[in-house]
């Protein structure tokens, strides 16, 4: 196990270097420079040059990249170019929002998907199964911004139960603010889990050990919950892990619609202003998150299936 973790960590290094290097090269290739954006096109070339010097943007690109790597190793990412704060404190403000949103979204998707998948699999090809699958197709196919707006219309405007947007204050405020976005994301994610899990359960139901359990007179709920579900979860966990990585990038839209101060909206605005240090740090955070989630998925795999040895 220890060696496995070490090996995985070692594998992550080239991945992260690749991601940050690619982001660095691409953003510097794109026309538009931060000093001009910050000072305005009317600033004199001298003023632009002075600011570039202050920002350290007059140095050769390889030097700039190595400085970033050096800083990243000590978790010091320097100052944001456009916002009057350090990149570190920006991340500190924004990571919790996105992490919390992601966590709530995954919880919603599990709460929705697992019972429906079980119900659907047990009533395979009957009306309930068709209804559940149709429902999942609709929420999956609906663009998240549209679903989000529909939820705001229903729950905020008509029922006045939840705020239309914003992160609120305090834990209760955050939870209220995150409810609709988490449901929006959760309803997108749920169908993916539901379908994988449904197939898993159907396959497992046909396995010999299930027949044996039935023959031994175990109750149906016990068979499903204890034996079938656990054996069906393996592939679902993999799918979930992959999708969380994918969702990270998709949160930009949701964060905008619900005015949440998360990582996605920050990434978009920092790209628009060519805020290089912030872009670099965010790319790294996204990279680390995806790598970590994949690792976690594999570890969970081993927990669920004792035959898998790490």
């Amino acid at each position: 196990m220890g060696t496995y973790l070490l090996r995985r960590a070692a594998q992550a290094v080239p991945v992260l270097i690749g991601i940050t290097l690619a982001a660095f090269v691409i953003i510097h290739l794109v026309p538009g420079e931060p000093a001009k954006i910050l000072l305005g096109a009317r600033a004199t070339p001298a003023a632009v040059a002075t600011l570039n010097k202050q920002l350290g943007l007059d140095r050769p690109l390889p030097t700039q990249y190595f400085d970033f790597v050096k800083g990243a190793l000590t978790l010091s990412f320097g100052e944001s170019i456009t916002q009057k704060t350090t990149v570190g404190s920006l991340l500190g403000e924004r990571i919790p929002v996105t992490a919390f949103l992601l966590l709530c979204s995954v919880l919603v998707s599990i709460v929705v998907a697992v019972p429906l998948a079980v119900a659907s699999a047990l009533r395979r090809n009957r009306a309930a199964d068709h209804a559940i699958r149709l429902f999942s197709m609709v929420t999956f196919a609906m663009p998240s911004f549209l679903l989000g707006l529909l939820l705001i219309l229903a729950f905020s405007l008509n029922l006045r139960l939840l705020p239309t947007s914003g992160y609120g204050e305090g834990l209760v405020g955050h939870l209220r603010g995150l409810t609709l976005p988490a449901v929006t994301v959760g309803l997108y994610l749920a169908p993916i889990l539901l379908r994988t899990l449904r197939v898993g359960i159907i396959e497992t139901l046909g396995a010999e050990f299930v027949e044996a359990a039935k023959a031994r007179g175990l109750s149906a709920p016990r068979i499903v919950l204890k034996h079938v579900l656990r054996n069906s979860l393996v592939s679902t966990v993999t799918v979930l892990g992959l999708n969380i990585g994918f969702l990270l990038s998709g949160l930009v839209i949701i964060e905008n619609v619900f005015a949440l101060p998360g990582l996605g909206s920050e990434l978009v605005s920092s790209i628009a202003t060519r805020d290089y240090p912030t872009i670099q740090a965010l790319t790294l955070v996204f990279g680390v998150a995806v790598v970590a989630i994949n690792l976690l998925t594999d570890l969970l795999y081993a927990v669920l299936d004792p035959r898998v040895r790490l």
Partner: protein, 545 residues
């Protein structure tokens, strides 16, 4: 000049930004359309949504909730504030010597009166009794400090041209300051009314420095900053030392950052916010039909244009440029894309102080356009690459209409969407594209008189190659110089009117519309106004119980 920015992401709402320095504009996704531009005619134009007379007696108290498309994420220091997200809040916190209002003339601000010397080189300002929000009095020393910063191109790097004429400031006594000029500046009062020349407390800025000051601003304006939460909100409280007796009426204002235009509209509908800025054109009518909400479509000193690079053949031929103007169905675009919320432009710049309403806009006349084309160097037709900001549905719709119409005169438009930063950096340097329009489609003035925008748009010496058109007409340059260096209002009006006429004939651009500010206001908000310069004076606003 400020620019209204559309914003990144899928579909923009538009928010305004200064033209050049743009910064985080934030995203507004879906909806779109915009804001800034706006409206026309019918709905409530300019002025207050509900005047005091109809609405009862103003009462003190309450906190106004105001949803905006932009965050003040770049700080609140008047010098070099790079985006409207900050500028429109700076103007609530700071005062200037003279102020902009609804009209085209500046009004008394911290200076209750002023006079100029016979040669126009010395302007004496008499300060009223006023205090900063920390209780310290505003003195001539603060004026000297602030105006000399404004005049110093090493400090005021974003707007160096506007303070350029100022030599120094002389403190006569604590209540009198004289601004000495290097040369006559016909627009001096307009220049010292802009946000960058706000009066700052010398002691505080010197003690804490510019960086800290931008996070902890201290001004003499109606409100003061109490809290800023990045990416979420800016909270202001009434300045207890404000000099206008009985104002502000509000206890405070909370500016919430809500980047998505649809979400802003929904917040307004649900009553979670009292005011929502930057309402998309296509939602104006439906909001106006909603009880308890009205949309203020106000005059703005902003305009939308398709700029033509006159160095790229055949756009060097004035007949080709005029033909493009005649072949542009502005009425149709106004109706179908902007839902009537703008005014057709009869000038290359917005309707500023010396705007001549009698100049004719180019009518839509395909026959005339065809004739001009056939006489021009582009008679065989040509391909025109039109750069538009990516992800902005309004710009895209306008570009599609142009493509269809201009094809009829043999101009094959190739619409190229560019990310905003890339579009601008290429366009101003003459690289990429024969024609372009900017993010959010509109640019706006920072001052009330024509000098700033006319210079940037028509005079290559102003540093932006005439906004990338490379237009250069010695006669226009001479008239602009003359207007800028005289104090005779009559002469200035005459010169700018002549410039307007000549520039329309030379057509270095296809001016489309004078755009408007579109703000949704709930009916409990009284005496709300939008100034043509773009922001909302909030000191007189009150909330009905």
């Amino acid at each position: 000049m400020r620019r209204s920015i559309g914003v990144r992401s899928a579909s923009p709402g538009r928010s305004s930004h200064r033209l050049l320095p743009r910064i985080a504009a934030l995203p507004a996704l879906l909806l779109v359309s915009a804001l800034l531009a706006a409206c026309g005619s019918s709905s409530s134009s300019s002025g207050s949504t509900s005047s005091a007379s109809e609405a009862g007696t103003p009462v003190q108290g309450g906190v106004l909730k105001f949803a905006r498309a932009e965050d003040a994420d770049v700080g609140l220091n008047p010098i070099n504030a790079p985006s409207n997200g900050s500028i429109f809040i700076i103007t609530q916190i700071f005062d200037q010597l003279v102020e902009m209002g609804q009209g085209s003339e500046v009004e008394p601000g911290l200076a209750s009166s002023w006079e100029k010397s016979a040669d126009g080189l010395s302007w004496t300002f008499h300060l009223r009794e006023a205090s900063f929000s920390n209780g310290e009095p505003v003195t001539a020393e603060d004026v000297k400090f602030s105006i000399e910063r404004f005049a110093n191109p090493k400090i005021n790097v974003s707007y160096p041209a506007l303070g350029e004429a100022i030599k120094d400031v002389q403190v006569v006594d604590p209540h009198t300051a004289i601004i000495h000029l290097k040369h006559v500046n016909g627009a001096l009062l307009d220049d010292v009314a802009m946000f960058a020349s706000s009066i700052e407390p010398k002691k505080v800025v010197e003690k804490i420095g510019d960086k800290a000051f931008s996070e902890h601003p201290v001004g003499s304006g109606p409100f003061m900053l109490t809290e800023y939460v990045r990416g979420q909100k800016t909270v202001l409280a009434r300045n207890p030392h404000y000099w206008r007796a009985g104002q502000p009426l509000l206890d405070g204002v909370v500016f919430e950052y809500v980047p998505d235009a649809n979400t802003r509209v929904l917040k307004l509908r649900s009553g979670e916010t009292d005011v929502a800025a930057a309402i998309p054109y296509n939602q104006v009518a439906s909001l106006n039909g909603t009880e308890g909400i009205s949309v203020e479509v106000a005059k703005a000193l902003s305009w939308q244009s398709i700029f033509l690079n006159t160095t790229k053949p055949p756009l060097g031929d004035v007949k080709v440029r005029q033909a493009l103007n005649y072949a542009t169905p502005k009425e149709e675009i106004l109706k179908t894309v902007l839902y009537g919320n703008a005014q057709i432009a009869n000038s290359m710049i917005p309707p500023l102080k010396y705007w001549d309403a009698s100049v004719k806009a180019y009518p839509f006349d395909l026959e005339k356009a065809k004739t001009l084309m056939s006489e021009s160097s582009g008679s065989k037709g040509f391909k025109l690459e039109l750069l538009i900001p990516s992800g902005d549905p309004v710009e895209q719709q306008i570009a599609e209409v142009l493509k269809a119409e201009w094809a009829k005169i043999g101009v094959n438009v190739d619409i190229v969407q560019r990310e905003v930063g890339a579009l601008e950096s290429g366009w101003f340097e003459g690289k990429g594209g024969m024609a372009a329009t900017f993010e959010g489609g509109t640019l706006s003035s920072d001052t009330l008189s024509d000098d700033e925008i006319a210079g940037l748009t028509l005079n290559p010496e102003a540093g932006l190659h005439s906004l990338g058109t490379y237009y250069n007409n010695p006669k226009v340059n001479k008239l602009l110089a003359e207007a800028g260096s005289t104090l005779s209002e009559e002469q200035r009006a005459k010169d700018f009117a002549e410039v307007q006429q000549i520039a329309m004939e030379d057509a270095p651009a296809v001016p489309l519309f004078f755009t408007k500010s579109v703000t949704g206001v709930r009916s409990n908000v009284k005496d709300f106004q939008t100034y043509p310069i773009g922001w909302w004076p909030l000191r007189q606003v009150w909330l009905a119980k």
